[in-house]
């Protein structure tokens, strides 16, 4: 992928203070297209796809949301907490659509590892293949997601 002018505009939207206080890029100095290419390659190496990862994230989030803010056991061995904070965020990829600030914490009781992701993450992975920049508060590493959420193709 190459950094189109549109990507340049999107990358500007992702800077700290434009949409969210911390932004979506963290300390990542790479171009948006490079971040997305690298994650795309990582996803392919694992034999997965963005939509498969997003689908699994959504599945666990829906299961956890049934706990209405309380931690819920999700078979086979997950503990999922879904909660929300005030406000909505627009997607930085310049299209209509506001996303509620709902976050999901998934703990894998077998390995003890956990991941935290937001509804915005699910959307950005599914629709844009974007996992946020290194060091961003809600950066999702594809390999970690696959391991903790036990995503298999």
């Amino acid at each position: 992928m190459k950094q189109t002018p549109e990507m340049e505009r999107i990358q500007r939207q992702m800077r700290p203070g434009v949409i969210s206080y911390d932004g979506f890029l963290g300390s990542d100095k790479r171009l948006l297209c490079e971040i997305m290419d690298a994650d795309e390659a990582a996803v392919r190496r694992m034999g997965l796809s963005h939509s498969a990862i997003a689908a699994r994230m959504r599945e666990l989030r829906e299961a956890g949301a049934r706990g209405l803010g309380q931690t819920t056991s999700v078979p086979p061995h997950f503990e999922v907490t879904v909660d929300a904070v005030r406000g909505k965020l627009p997607c930085p990829f310049l299209h209509e659509g506001l996303y509620e600030k709902i976050y999901t914490i998934v703990k894998n009781n077998t390995s003890g590892e956990s991941v935290t992701y937001t509804d915005m993450n699910i959307h950005m992975i599914e629709a844009h293949g974007f996992y946020e920049g290194e060091g961003a508060p809600f950066r999702q590493d594809p390999a970690t997601l696959a391991r903790v959420l036990e995503i298999e193709d």
Binding site: S20, Y21, L68, G69, Q70, T71, D83, A84, V85
Partner: protein
């Protein structure tokens, strides 16, 4: 040699002094926005020194606008309407204001600087908000992740609040934060007790304030808070009351119930409290005692995932299911909800299905 040394020092000193005087003059003219008049709600007039952010200018005048981030423009709470004199919208405000708010003059008071006379709209109840210094008198574990913190007031020595309101606790700079931050917590104690308040604080991993309270705060520590805030309180009607809470959402409901018990309220009330398993339940004895003090009150705890060792014989299931089961008809009743936004949204839906009008549902979403 010595002479040239002295000359050099004197010359540099003289130049520096001149420049310092120049800067002071500039500060007194260009940097001086003079006294600005703030007209609040067309009624109250204040004169403040210009140049400061509006939030701190108001704070200096003992008007506390709720703010959770301490003026960094990262919480979006300190909104108020500036009718006149606010200047252009700043890039740092835009993420917090939707199109309607931008049109109606809503601004973030921590970002707008006072540079000229301004006309403001501030909700009346904020005028009774004060800053308090206090001492932690007790910290108790309520569950594995919720602590009860009792705070004894020193200056001012008493707080007047309505049951259901919240305060903002100041977290001084420590490992997780370089500047003071403020977090909102509901008061759990009876408003009659004006010299000491109780808070119930649930630990959130990496939460700036909750980590501070759970890992650093000790009995005897000095704390600062401001308040009271919020319009979550019992309505002065005779309608039957349904309270629903989860986790630390217990706090404002407890305050309301304590007040009802003290005043000998005859209103019919039921309180549903949702938790995951027995280890997440707390203050059960106090609630059972309240059932004795209030003849018309019933406490119904519900566990969503009781563990085998809990030997739980009470209600099981999600709070919405338990509410639906116990409340066949909600019309004409009032509901008071506090807890996760997800729980509140789900409960509002259930109550509406049971015939309650949305106007009679009052809630305090934390977050």
């Amino acid at each position: 040699m010595l002479v040239s040394f002295i000359i050099a020092v004197a010359a540099v000193g003289a130049i520096n002094t001149l420049l310092a005087i120049l800067i002071m003059l500039a500060d007194a003219t260009i940097g001086n926005y003079g006294d600005c008049k703030l007209t609040i709600n067309d009624a109250k007039e204040l004169t403040v020194k210009g140049g400061k952010p509006l939030l701190s200018a108001l704070k200096d005048e003992q008007i506390f606008i709720p703010s959770a981030c301490g003026g960094r423009g990262s919480c979006g709470l300190c909104k108020l309407v500036i009718e006149d004199g606010g200047g252009d919208l700043l890039p740092t405000e835009l993420p917090w204001l939707d199109a309607d708010e931008q049109k109606s003059g809503v601004r973030l008071s921590c970002q707008v600087k006072v540079k000229r006379d301004m006309r403001l709209r501030i909700p009346e109840e904020l005028f009774s908000v004060k800053q308090f210094s206090a001492t932690v008198s007790a910290i108790n574990d309520l569950t594995h992740d919720i602590k009860e913190v009792k705070i004894k007031l020193s200056e001012p020595a008493a707080i007047e609040f309505t049951a259901g309101q919240f305060i903002q606790l100041e977290v001084p700079p420590y490992e997780l934060t370089d500047e003071p931050v403020y977090r909102a917590y509901s008061i759990a104690s009876d408003p009659v007790k004006q010299d000491e308040i109780e808070l119930e604080i649930r630990y959130v991993p990496n939460g700036i304030c909750t980590t501070y309270v759970h890992k650093h705060l000790k009995e005897g520590d000095e704390v600062t808070f401001n308040g009271p805030y919020g319009d979550f309180h019992l309505q002065p009607t005779e309608a039957e009351i349904i309270c629903i809470a989860g986790g630390s959402g217990m706090a404002p409901i407890k305050s309301i119930l304590e007040e009802m018990a003290r005043t000998g309220s005859k209103r019919k009330a039921v309180y549903f409290f949702g938790a995951r398993s027995k280890r997440d339940l707390f203050l059960v004895e106090r609630m059972q005692a309240l059932e004795k003090e209030l003849p018309q009150f019933k406490f119904i705890p519900a566990l969503s995932e009781p563990q085998p060792e809990d030997n739980w014989d009470g209600e099981t299931g999600l709070i919405t299911e338990v509410v639906a089961k116990h409340v066949p008809d909600a019309s004409g009743k009032e509901a008071y909800l506090c807890g996760s936004p997800l729980m509140i949204d789900a409960c509002v839906k259930v109550l509406q299905e049971k015939g309650m009008s949305e106007d009679n549902i009052y809630y305090d979403k934390f977050a």
